[in-house]
Symmetry: C2
Subunit: 265 residues, 2 copies
């Protein structure tokens, strides 16, 4: 590691936050979350974020006192309080509770792997997972992120946005992340799919993120302000995937989406 890791900031004062210490503290949390090992030393952080060591030390002490991070010898890592806070966020989403109930009772979905996700910047983030099918256990977990272009939920949520927003996120010469030979390569492909999704009302992901696995997704209608867009998806093995089954799943997903979108039931 001669030239070490890429310092991400170096713009530093570009934003000029009204409370720089907080912004930097958040950057520390991000850095720890993205670090492969999950552990960084004071110097690592200072270097990577371009913050003087002395200031970094102060930040870390404050973060540790708040239990947002943990110190173990010279290494810092994320703290348990983050799990609490994340859980507090999720527990407030009534949609998640109803999601579980619905899945258990749905004729087809109750035997499948169903997930609910939310758009989060240029990614989606999984909020909950129902597993009626213990045979197929997903590697993805609650809180995991996926690029929009690589998941059925991502595409279906993208299709909900206005065209100019999509254009801003995916200019024609953008390079899309690729995970399998079937992953979408160009913005044009993506936009064509978006158009199709808008017509048919659901999205299909056909081995674009994992070979052998297909995914169907529908959007949850956002009745007014409330919050950011939610999406639902079913995951299945391509081998055991039929047209009729897909139709059933989409039908039930849409029912669930409708009941999530109209809270009274």
């Amino acid at each position: 590691m001669a030239d070490s890791r890429t310092p991400r900031s170096s713009e530093g004062l570009g934003s000029s936050s009204p409370a720089p210490a907080v912004t930097r503290a958040a950057a520390v949390l991000d850095a720890l979350a993205e670090a492969p090992s999950g552990r960084l030393t004071l110097s690592d952080l200072s270097r990577e974020l371009g913050i003087p060591k002395s200031s970094t030390s102060n930040l870390l002490m404050a973060l540790e006192e708040a239990r947002l991070i943990t110190r173990e010898g010279a290494d810092f890592s994320l703290g348990r309080k983050l799990v609490e806070l994340g859980a507090a966020y999720l527990s407030r989403l009534d949609e998640v509770q109803e999601f579980y109930k619905f899945c258990e009772q749905a004729p087809t979905l109750s035997g499948e792997t169903v997930r609910i996700a939310m758009i989060d910047g240029d990614h989606i983030i999984y909020l909950a997972r129902y597993e009626g099918h213990p045979a197929v256990r997903l590697t993805s977990n609650i809180g995991d992120k996926m690029p929009l272009s690589l998941s059925a939920v991502g595409k279906v949520l993208l299709a909900q946005l206005h065209d100019h927003d999509i254009e801003a996120m995916f200019p024609d010469d953008v390079e899309l992340p690729v995970m399998t030979p079937k992953s979408l390569r160009s913005a044009a492909e993506l936009k064509a799919q978006v158009a199709a999704i808008r017509k048919q009302g659901y999205a299909l992901e056909d081995e674009e993120s994992t070979l052998g696995v297909v995914c169907l997704a529908v959007p949850v209608p956002t009745h007014g302000a409330h919050g950011p867009s939610l999406g639902l998806s079913v995951t299945a093995l391509k081998a055991t995937f039929s047209e009729e089954q897909a139709a059933l799943m989409v039908k039930e997903l849409k029912e669930l989406a409708h009941s999530l979108g109209n809270p009274m039931g």
Copy 2:
């Protein structure tokens, strides 16, 4: 609640953090997490935390920019990034991954509801849940907290601590939280149980948090520094709970605990 909510701080400079803005930002997150509705306005926060409105405004703007909180009109609530960060924390715990694998293959446990928890101040916090028994779905979720004295895991983790630490947390005249008629009432009762747990190597919670539900728990041996103590528990309905079954469960829990405590396998 005529006199409204209790302003929690008012000690203010007691701690004198090296980065007050960060400490206060953390307090904001805590307040939002504990607020019953999950939403507070700028003035609410300013009042409750004893921070001037103008400063609170700055904090909130910085927190919002970091997506640690979300603004909806005048209301602020926790942000999605917290789910990411919490998930990042959990994904680093190898124990959680192994926990799932083990549960699936264990003869008895694979059909039960098993959880792994961690001590967190004067509470426990649930890190993961395996549900082999869809009939009995727990209301508790990942990230939820429970008082030490009210859960089997809590008691078993308490038993791992030194006596003087226990004494500090539970002086003789302490008032324990009560959730059912069978909840422990006095520190003396709790300490008697701790002694018993140390002898037998596992803890039993007999309808102390929920009527009709029993819980068994064992500690995960912490091989040296690593991290805070972990505990495992099985939850069952009292109605369908037998001595022989309990013995089997404790045996498998101990196997799991052992394999978690000795990472190589």
